[in-house]
Amino acid sequence: MSDGNGTVTVTINGRRVETHPGRLLIDVAEELGIFVPRFCYHPGMRSVAVCRMCLVHVEGQRKLMPACATPVSDGMEVQTDHPRAVDAQSGMLEFLLINHPLDCPICDRAGECPLQDQTYAHGPGTSRYVEPKRTYEKALEISDLVVLDRERCVLCWRCVRFADEIAGDRFIQLVDRGAGTQILTFSDEPFDSYFSGNTIQICPVGALTAKPYRFVSRPWDLKTAPSICAYCSVGCPISNEARAGQLVRCQALPNENVNDFWICDKGRFGYHYVDSPERLDNPLVRKGDSFEVTGWAEALRTAAEGLRGAASVGVIAGGHLTTEDAYAVQRLARGTLGTADLDSRIQDDGAPYELMVDAAGVAGSTATLNDLESAQTIVWTGPDPREELPVLFLRLRKAVTGRGAKLVVVSPRRLSLDAFATHVVRCEAGAEAAALEGLRLGNERPAADDVASADALVCCWGPSSPGRDETPILEQVVALAAERGGKVLVCPPHAGSQGLLDMGVHPALSPGYRRPETRGRRTREILEAAASGEIDALVIAGADVLNDFPDAELARRALTSGAFVVVSELFATDTARAADVLLPAAAYAEREGTFTNLERRLQKLEQLLAAPGTAREVWRICAGIAAAMGDDWGWTSFDDVWADINASVPTHAEVDVQALTQPHPVAGPHQESGYELMPNDMVMAGPGGPMPKGHRSGAAFEAGQAWPLSWELRSFEAHLRPGLIPVAADGTGEVGTLTERASATRREPGTFRLLSGRHIYDEGTMVSRSAMLHELAKEPFVALNAADAAEIGLSDGAQAVVEGATSVTLPVVIDDIARGAVYIPYDQPGLHANTLMRGPEPTVTVRPA
């Protein structure tokens, strides 16, 4: 039966299938459209086989076997609907229900609850249990976001396993034993994890619920649309869910290429800004010291007049624009306005993405996220991914703790990765490039040995600190990868960052990674030119340069120098308030679009909501400005934009953007199983699909009515939305002559290089307007090395005066950070760290308060 090529043939319910040995029975059955009921099994985590719901009959086995922990073997004959198995499934549900409160009428989960679904499909109709049920205190708030109801819990351990195995945050645990076993957090530690929301989504009952969603909606009242998280550059697929036109929930959609099954809490709970009453809804035009609400025609005309009258225009775009917006900004700048001065790197990371073009043919990654898992060694240099790219942190952690990859972290400060890194190279600030060269030349042992011996090497780089020139670091990363036959994972910060590079919103790149005829100014140079009057008009799209550019004073001078400023924004940010024309933009849930993630994967967003007032997509705003200036692009729809992109951007010529979307799962093989009582039919029923045939509840649902899916069933959707990485030309594999490395010179005692980085919950434009998360933002602090602190008379918890461009008093945190450097979070409540920064490579002095 085996064909000798490492495949086995198994028969499940009379259907033969050829598959790989070692795969789990439950997965193989599912591919045949045979849904084996389960609670504890989750494809993203190791099997534990504790719920005993998936017991099936395997020919020749005395006992029923748990399908989630039984690997297939050749000739195996399985019956999931064997009378013994059916009896076990029904019996198990009766056991699970004896202590379940059956409070579905007040449970958030009702309607999309695996316990409910599987009870309908496999459970007994009545209960023989007459004794009092187990009771616990209800609605225990185990963190600011998660509420626990232990009575509803079926003790599947999914939350515990997720926290331990996936997130590495062991805050939620099983306590006590036997029938008294419960899920609980430790008394003095809340469930303080950046990934806690995943436990809510994978909970197969209503035991873990989301504080912001409690009692908010019934799943069948939700209108949902697949989308992509608009925060960081990992680009996790999500499901936006709205009730009565308001976004009320956001859940992870699985894509095994990108996020496995997970998203971070920022992505999950950071949607409140969309419905914020502070959203800009109509165009505003400056009249003296105040704004006046106008129609679009007047606003665009005013903008066009101002820009037409300008001698020189600079264009700055923020990192959250979609690929289409990016293309429009680029076309507006280079085409209509005829300027080469455009950039999207508002943190002035000096990141020489263009350097990658020579080496790799792309201004971005040559590695995919999946490459991390097949890598033998991974080198990381860049920001703290747990704070800035949380799901990338999970993928790195999985590669190391799950797949045995070796991880080398090169950083002047402690990163979350250090906890499981194989080697930590703690270099001095500014000496990252030298450390990387040491790895490359074999000096930095033993880490270099693991790099040298790796057949599959992935070198990751991301801008590590605002205001740094990263050129020598990236050069070394590219050289290291090239010499060892490795790949490079480039990690720009935001959801739109890579799309902006792909679409040429960069002074040295035009769309499709080509070199423009004229090299323009980068962000710092644009602002300097604006401050000096050399540039007399600015177009700013979704960028709060006053708070994000690492030299607040320069940004302030640029905006107040008298230049004509057009801003499109979601909110009246500090930058927006300095505009002459302020144009309201649509948020990610209010539009069709694509984001390009850090592995250059294009993924599509669907529109779920209407934008407030007359707010619209940035591409529409750009096209409107162009038209008002007499340059009509002829765009009226999203497809028009893509027709233009297909025609003008060689790398994207073949992209069929609508093929990225198949919002409803198609029937496929699931129809063949012929089960009456299995919820296979639910699998086929996507949002809007028919009610499941096996549903026993009688006439509660009309045929054809939308049937909300519990997450297990949703997962089918995701396999149809893998996204697409456009093919680009090959590079030479090498960088040119390496720049001379900046040497790490010790400075005077008390004078430090200022390292900074964004934290997950900060004062960012979107997250700070998401109420639940803003409360979680940490207070600012200054972290420094114990020896440095002692030298200037500071200790942990003391107050220090930090003086750069301005001066601030901050609490001291002693941390594992290179001598001669301090770390201050970039944008926490009470301190925009960019106010401390002046010029590139900022420094500060620190003294006791």
């Binding site: 005993r52 005395r62 019996g91 699970l96 202590n99 023989r128 004794e131 034993r177 036997g178 029938a179």
Partner: protein, 469 residues
């Protein structure tokens, strides 16, 4: 050793402490009695494979409960993976069983000698004794014995002057029956919550700290020195073809002399009862638990105590704990008490065991207190069937077997409870776990019968740990 007519003990593992009750646990006595000679000759004169083959040929079966052939278990261990570990299951939690405790307290050197032989055969350089937390005296004596053995060079670097190193660590459990299940024991030993692991991989391949691990019961290991010393032929003189040797039977319940009796496997229950002095007060046997609380009940003494006979009878030898119950026993109460034990000790990992034992306790309690319903007996059988074969580990199965056999064998008694609306035994308040007065023999019940039981009893000198070592 000759066997006289009539039932008689054959003392092999219990010989030394019966012969020298005053100091059987001391190294001086043990050495004078020929102790450690078997281990010395194994390490010096035999190859590991020779030891393995001897144990295989002896047919020795595990004395902890499952009766798996020890030599076969050892042969599953991959030869080329190091380190390997030996773990002694000294957690003895099965209700009615008190044999390992006695071995640990009264002949710890015999156990250490067995450990050395097992470690040599399997080339393991480290052994752990997982000792039930409650066994304070045994733990102290084993601790002393281990240190004495180190001092003599029987443990440590290059034992017996060979090139073989062996370290033994004593670990005390924290009081959970489930930690007697070998994989839960390993989790507990590693410092985690004691819960059974998913198998495969089996401990022999991937056990303690992910390394090949042999887990043997105390009595099993204590038997090894005798097999090595006297040979396979000698060992097979006792017992049956498939269950060779002798077995300690912890005998308790309504018998005149509850105690451990070491008898050849294949001895009948009637003979054992005779050894124990018969039923107290001239009572008649109503029910017998033949192999610890997990084992389905018997109602006759005709059965032989060996692995295969009891399996044929639909029950099991288990850990070798026989509880005789007389006609004063309420079987509903017996079922309740037994089930409450399993409910209390269920680790909570899997649904059927966690919820099923909980539910059964509620129903049994109702019946016992006169609130039973006529459909309850079917319900109890359904609960038992709902657990049996579906639980994660044998704990659930055991609970279901005990429950089912009580209901099936004594259904009329259960029904009587329901019909009467009360327990027919309630005036007497008697069951084998209940209080009673004036019982002849060495102790109140088997469980409390041992002269050395109790934390403070019979300590020799100050605890070395308290002496500030």
């Amino acid at each position: 050793m000759s066997v006289a007519a009539g039932p008689q003990e054959v003392r092999i593992v219990t010989r030394r402490y019966h012969e020298f009750p005053e100091d059987s646990w001391t190294l001086e006595r043990v050495e004078a009695d020929g102790g450690y000679e078997a281990a010395r000759s194994a390490v010096r004169d035999m190859t590991p494979d020779e030891v393995l083959d001897t144990v295989k040929d002896s047919g020795l079966r595990g004395r902890g409960g499952a009766g798996f052939p020890t030599g076969v278990k050892w042969s599953f261990v991959p030869k080329d993976l190091f380190p390997k570990y030996i773990v002694v299951n000294h957690d003895e939690g099965e209700p009615g069983t008190f044999k390992d405790r006695e071995l640990g307290e009264r002949d710890p050197h015999q156990l250490i000698e067995g450990i050395i032989i097992a470690a040599w055969a399997n080339q393991a350089n480290r052994a752990f004794i997982y000792c039930r937390g409650e066994m304070a005296l045994g733990a102290r004596r084993m601790d002393t014995a281990i240190r004495d053995a180190y001092r003599k060079g029987y443990l440590g670097k290059g034992i017996f002057g060979s090139g073989f190193d062996l370290d033994v660590t004593l670990h005390r459990g924290a009081g959970a029956y489930i930690c007697g299940e070998e994989s839960a024991l390993l989790d507990s030993l590693e410092g985690f919550r004691g819960q059974p692991r998913l198998k495969p991989p089996f401990p022999a391949v991937k056990g303690l700290y992910g390394q090949p691990t042999i887990i043997n019961n105390t009595e099993t290991l204590s038997t090894l020195p005798h097999i090595i010393r006297h040979g396979v032929e000698w060992f097979r003189r006792w017992g049956t073809e498939k269950s060779p040797g002798t077995k300690m039977i912890s005998t308790s319940g309504h018998v005149v002399r509850p105690a451990n009796y070491e008898v050849p496997l294949g001895t009948t229950l009637a003979e054992l009862l005779e050894l124990a002095g018969g039923m107290r007060d001239g009572g008649r046997v109503k029910a017998i638990i033949p192999g610890g609380a997990s084992a389905p009940l018997l109602t006759s003494t005709e059965y032989r105590l060996d692995f295969e006979s009891l399996q044929e009878a639909g029950t099991m030898l288990g850990s070798g704990a026989v509880v005789f119950m007389d006609e004063s026993t309420c079987m509903v109460r017996n079922a309740l008490v037994t089930n409450e034990f399993f409910e209390h000790e269920s680790c909570g990992k899997c649904t059927p065991c966690r919820e099923g034992t909980w539910w059964a306790s509620k129903v049994l309690e109702r019946i016992e207190h006169g609130e039973g319903r006529k459909e309850d007996m079917e319900l109890l059988l359904d609960i038992a069937n709902g657990i049996d074969g579906r639980a994660f580990c044998p704990l659930g199965d055991a609970a279901s077997w005990a429950l089912r056999s009580n209901v099936e064998l004594f259904r009329d008694e259960f029904e009587q409870h329901v019909i009467d609306g009360r327990c027919p035994f309630e005036d007497e308040h008697l069951s084998f776990t209940g209080p009673r007065a004036a019982v002849p023999g060495p102790g109140d019940s088997g469980i409390a019968a041992q002269p050395h039981a109790g934390v403070d009893a019979d300590l020799e000198g100050p605890d070395p740990r308290e002496a500030g070592r």
